[in-house]
């Protein structure tokens, strides 16, 4: 072929739909002779063709290629599933909240008259092995009483309807069954459950009596239906700071992880693109093909992620992460967020690919990294965390009280600080690794490999780094603001561990209860008292709006019981009485006026503002000594009139309630369960409380649980991603490994080199993570205006978790490594 006219089969034939690729446009005079030909602007079809070609590379390529694409897709899918889960959390919380409110039995203030649709209810909550079980006793007063959500009918007396989780628990726990002995006639429907792990029951009763107007008599509330108005509690800026940080810390590693996943197989891809450049792909085509490849993996990952999510959702019912469980149907990702994920993940994949291609120039002869030979510069990497700091610095000390905070600013600052950690990582790895040398073969192989391409390794651990740094920072913040949310109850669990309180009881009943309790398995010691109240003797005669009924507690108990409450020495015998004045800092200056020996008090002290009934006057015996109070085992200070049962006719007391303090046998873990079982027989108005030295605000507990749940998931995810990356790296070097084995390199040496190769960047990453985490933690603490305090325990814990994940991953990658090292790996292109 010597003529200039191309043969008909030549791709440059005029029939081609993309004349812009005509290379002879300039040679045969058809082009404007002045300037350069316009850069070929690809039309839609060319775009499509190149993208499809890229997809073809991703999809084709035999087992090897498929594996790589599958790894990418699985990586992206894990991230997407995580994001979808995060997107479903608000709706899930909402749905749970709605159902929680719908079955709520509280906030029924007004008095209701009995009617055909009313019923009586009382809560019968209990705890079993640390799990809270909610029970509601129901007693319909008419036929039209509406059953609670999830129930078809009101349970009959002695029967109950239970949640599926409770049913299972009851079946496996005879001890609990003893406590909740009602006949199970059905299960609560979904509408009546917050989540599948919900432990709940509705039992029918015929022992309920509605409270009367004075609430002196009765044991149950009357209601017409279930449900309350939702009242979301205001949480305050510190809480919001925590919330924002938790979200950022949990989701950022996911983003880093997705970015890592789409860069899998980058070296191979570069080589492949170089081969395409040789046969005439221009730079734009190359980019489009790479984009198509990334897009394919990302789209596949997106689909797979959706599948993962749907599958995981089915299993969600069986999984309780740190006390939170959810119904599959509750996990409905927010539509807008889902669309955002579906669009942004593929776009991010393409963007990441383009950015990674920007640093490399793919030429027909191979791949040149522009940065090759030029050391990474540290200054712009430092700029990122500095910018984050600049965003956060104005808020130092500002996050407190009711101040409204700019959550976006906090999120951006935190993200920048954490991203800064990942940006610094490649520089750190390169700088440190560049100085390593010598050592045994395995070490040498590892360090040389890292020196040649520290990028991939740095990328591999960046997810761990971000996660650990974030977790350390959060832990520090949490422990700094703990006092805000955790209250010291002052209780002394050494004296008693359980308190059983019963409303509306009598001295005889209490004595009986006490006997039963002390006979219960696992109870070491017990003491109890009866509590009631009195008021001024002239209460019944008072009129006018300014009348007040001073509160005068009356406590009746035997000497053992009273000694727990006041500094009563040996002078106590049946018939004794004592006076204890309210603490001075109480500001209570009225009660002491009446707490005097020889004074009379009115035992008919109602709960309402109106005096009802006839006065029951009682005289504090003359000569009653005043003694000092003593902190009781629950941490509170009791005061008032202390009397032994012989000193007062307890039937005259107003609505007396008993409190029994119990010390348990520490060697019998189930002791508390036996006590609960015993107490369950005391009547509907008996409550069992664990005495603990601290108490935590509920929403804070929720957040902390959420953090732990999320951190657990993130760590698992990062472990999976590490494994994927590791396998991919091994796969990439299959030939080299085979050659080394052929040389006679010992496999153990290679295994060690793989371990070193991950360990070195991981150690560096963890060092950076600790530094970054402590830094971010310090910033966050500064924002809430607390003094900086180091939480070395959490630093160590988080580092250990990160290192553990890496170690586990390395171990998991050893079997494939062994297989890859077979000499048949030599025969690969």
């Amino acid at each position: 072929m010597t003529s200039a006219s191309p043969s008909p089969s030549s791709p440059s034939s005029p029939s081609s739909h993309s004349p812009s690729y005509e290379p002879f446009a300039g040679f045969d005079g058809t082009r404007d002779p002045g300037g350069r030909p316009p850069e070929p602007s690809a039309d839609l079809r060319t775009w499509l063709r190149d993208l499809l070609l890229g997809a073809r590379f991703a999809a084709g390529g035999g087992r090897e290629g498929w594996l790589r694409t599958a790894l990418t897709a699985v990586g992206v899918a894990l991230g997407v599933a995580m994001l979808l889960l995060a997107a479903a959390v608000p709706a899930m919380m909402d749905a749970r909240d709605q159902r929680r409110v719908a079955r709520d039995t509280l906030s029924m203030g007004e008095q209701i008259k009995p009617g055909p649709d009313t019923f009586l209810l009382d809560s019968a909550d209990t705890t079993y092995h640390g799990d809270d079980i909610s029970g509601v006793l129901l007693q319909p007063e008419g036929r039209a009483a509406q059953p609670p959500p999830g129930l078809a009918a009101m349970p009959r007396p002695g029967q109950m309807v239970v949640s599926p989780a409770l049913k299972k628990l009851l079946a496996s726990s005879p001890l609990l069954r003893e406590r909740i002995p009602y006949e199970i006639t059905g299960t609560i429907g979904k509408a009546g459950l917050i989540g599948p792990a919900d432990l709940y029951y509705y039992a029918g009763s015929d022992k309920l009596v509605a409270y009367d107007a004075t609430r002196e008599h009765g044991n149950a509330d009357r209601a017409r239906g279930f449900g309350a108005h939702s009242n979301s509690d205001v949480r305050g800026p510190v809480f919001n700071l925590l919330l924002v940080t938790v979200l950022v810390v949990l989701l950022l590693p996911v983003a880093v992880f997705i970015a890592t996943a789409v860069r899998l197989g980058g070296e191979r891809r570069d080589r492949r693109l170089a081969a395409l450049r040789l046969v005439g792909a221009d730079i734009r085509m190359t980019r489009r093909i790479a984009a198509g490849e990334a897009l394919f993996g990302a789209l596949l990952g997106l689909l797979l992620g959706a599948v993962f999510f749907l599958v995981a959702r089915q299993f969600a019912a069986g999984i309780t992460i740190r006390d939170i469980s959810a119904f599959p149907s509750d996990l409905m990702p927010d539509t807008a967020l889902t669309v955002l994920i579906a669009v942004s993940v593929p776009m991010a994949a393409v963007a990441v690919t383009m950015i990674s291609l920007r640093r490399t120039v793919i030429e027909p002869l191979g791949v040149f990294r522009q940065g090759l030979g030029r050391r990474r510069r540290v200054w712009w990497r430092l700029l990122i965390p500095v910018a984050g700091l600049a965003l956060l610095a104005p808020m130092f000390g500002a996050v407190k009280g009711d101040a409204s905070i700019n959550q976006y600013q906090i999120a951006a600052g935190t993200v920048l600080l954490l991203i800064g950690v990942t940006a610094l990582l490649p520089w750190l790895v390169e700088t440190v690794v560049g100085r390593l040398s010598g050592g045994p073969v395995a070490w040498q192989l590892a360090t040389r490999r890292l020196q040649l391409n520290s990028n991939a390794s740095a990328r591999m651990v960046s997810g761990v780094t971000v996660a650990v740094a974030g977790a350390i920072a959060l832990q520090m913040l949490f422990s700094a603001v703990d006092q805000d949310f955790v209250f010291d109850t002052g209780a002394d669990p050494a004296r008693a561990q359980v308190m059983v309180s019963t409303d509306g009881t009598t001295v005889g009943q209490t004595a009986h209860d006490l006997r039963l309790i002390s006979a219960t398995k696992g109870v070491r010691e017990s003491s109890g008292y009866l509590r009631s109240q009195a008021t001024r003797p002239d209460a019944s005669t008072l009129t006018g709006d300014d009348r007040t009924f001073p509160y005068l507690p009356v406590i009746v108990g035997d000497c053992t019981g009273l000694r727990e409450l006041a500094a009563i020495g040996a002078g106590c015998k049946p018939g004794s009485t004592f006076l204890v004045q309210p603490p001075a800092d109480d500001g209570n200056d009225e009660s002491p006026k009446y707490l005097k020996a020889g004074h009379r008090i009115d035992l008919n002290a109602g709960y309402s503002e109106k005096y009802t009934g006839a006065p029951r006057l009682w005289t504090i015996p003359a000569g009653t000594p005043t003694v000092a109070t003593r902190v009781d085992p629950t941490g509170s200070r009791q005061w008032g009139v202390f009397a032994t049962p012989e000193a007062i006719d307890s039937s005259r007391l107003f609505d007396p309630g008993s409190q029994i303090m119990i010390g348990l046998d520490p060697h019998l873990p189930d002791a508390v369960e036996y006590v609960r079982n015993t107490a369950a027989g005391f009547g509907v108005n008996t409550y069992v409380m664990n005495i603990s030295s601290t108490q935590t605000k509920a929403s804070y507990t929720q957040l902390r649980r959420g953090l732990f749940a999320g951190a657990t998931l993130t760590m698992v995810l990062i472990g999976a991603s590490l494994l994927v990356t590791m396998l991919e790296q091994l796969r990439d070097r299959r030939k080299l490994l085979a050659v080394l084995v052929a040389f006679g390199t010992r496999r153990s040496a290679l295994a060690w080199s793989v371990l070193w190769q991950t360990t070195i960047p991981v150690v560096l990453g963890l060092v950076l993570a600790c530094a970054g985490g402590i830094g971010l933690g310090a910033v966050l603490i500064a924002m809430v205006g607390r003094a900086f305090q180091m939480d070395w325990g959490s630093v160590a814990l988080m580092s250990a978790v990160g290192a553990g994940v890496v170690l586990a991953v390395t171990l998991l990658s050893l079997p494939p490594l062994w297989r890859l090292m077979r000499p048949d790996g030599l025969h690969t292109e």
């Binding site: 005509e22 300039g26 395409l276 040789l278 005439g280 221009d282």
Partner: protein
């Protein structure tokens, strides 16, 4: 083959320095349509660099390469890419095939990049594989075929677009003499049939014997062996 009066590819006074290593130092080369030019010379003398300059893959520091009267270095990357797609073909020692694609797809690739339909491109690729006696491995991947088979696939790919110039850098470097000569015979015959010129870098005199003309490169300087005697 007699040289056409009009030279296809003319390189004059090429200089190229890598770092401090002079790779080309005044090399020259003229390729006329349809001729096979062997480029020989010691290792490191700059043969590959010269070839890459001729193909527009590497831009020389000074000197110029004209393809059909047009200076390569004045073209944009897109134009040079298009040129590689339509007018040039390449056969290297190894590694130029895309490992992910089957042999057939590899051969069809230049045409596909040029915008041809897949069916069409693969049909034509198949005839080329047949011509190079490797039709039986069409559906295998480069990793699964022998070196000689792979080279023939590479030759098919280089020639499938009926280029005007085929650049071959030690195409038989990894083959035994029998296979090497077979590849050379197929390459030169096919090139002859399509009228393609071949620039052939080789160390082996017997491979060079398939050429019409010889250039020797020493220390970055070229010597046209036709002019020595």
């Amino acid at each position: 083959m007699t040289a056409a009066p009009e030279p296809l590819l003319v390189a004059t006074d090429l200089h190229k320095v890598y770092g401090h290593t002079p790779a080309l130092d005044g090399a020259e080369l003229t390729v006329r349509a349809g001729e096979v030019v062997a480029v020989m010379g010691p290792s490191g003398s700059g043969k590959s660099t010269l070839l890459h300059c001729l193909a527009g893959i590497v831009t020389p520091d000074s000197g110029e390469v004209r393809y059909r009267g047009r200076q390569l270095s004045a073209m944009s990357d897109g134009e040079r890419s298009a040129l590689r797609r339509t007018d040039f073909g390449f056969v290297f020692q190894f590694g130029q095939l895309v490992p992910e694609l089957t042999c057939l797809e590899n051969v069809a690739m230049p045409m596909r990049l040029g915008g041809r339909k897949r069916k069409e491109a693969e049909a034509q690729a198949a005839t080329w594989l047949e011509r190079l006696e490797v039709a039986d491995i069409a559906d295998q991947r480069p990793g699964e075929v022998s070196g000689g088979q792979g080279q023939r696939v590479a030759v098919a790919r280089a020639l499938v677009g009926e280029p005007r110039v085929v650049f071959a850098d030690e195409p038989t470097g990894a083959l035994d003499s029998l296979n090497g000569e077979r590849v050379m015979r197929l390459l030169t015959e096919a090139a002859h049939d399509t009228g393609a010129a071949v620039v052939l870098v080789t160390h082996e005199p017997r491979v060079a014997a398939y050429s019409d003309r010889e250039i020797v490169v020493r220390d970055g300087k070229s010597r046209d062996m036709e002019r020595v005697s």
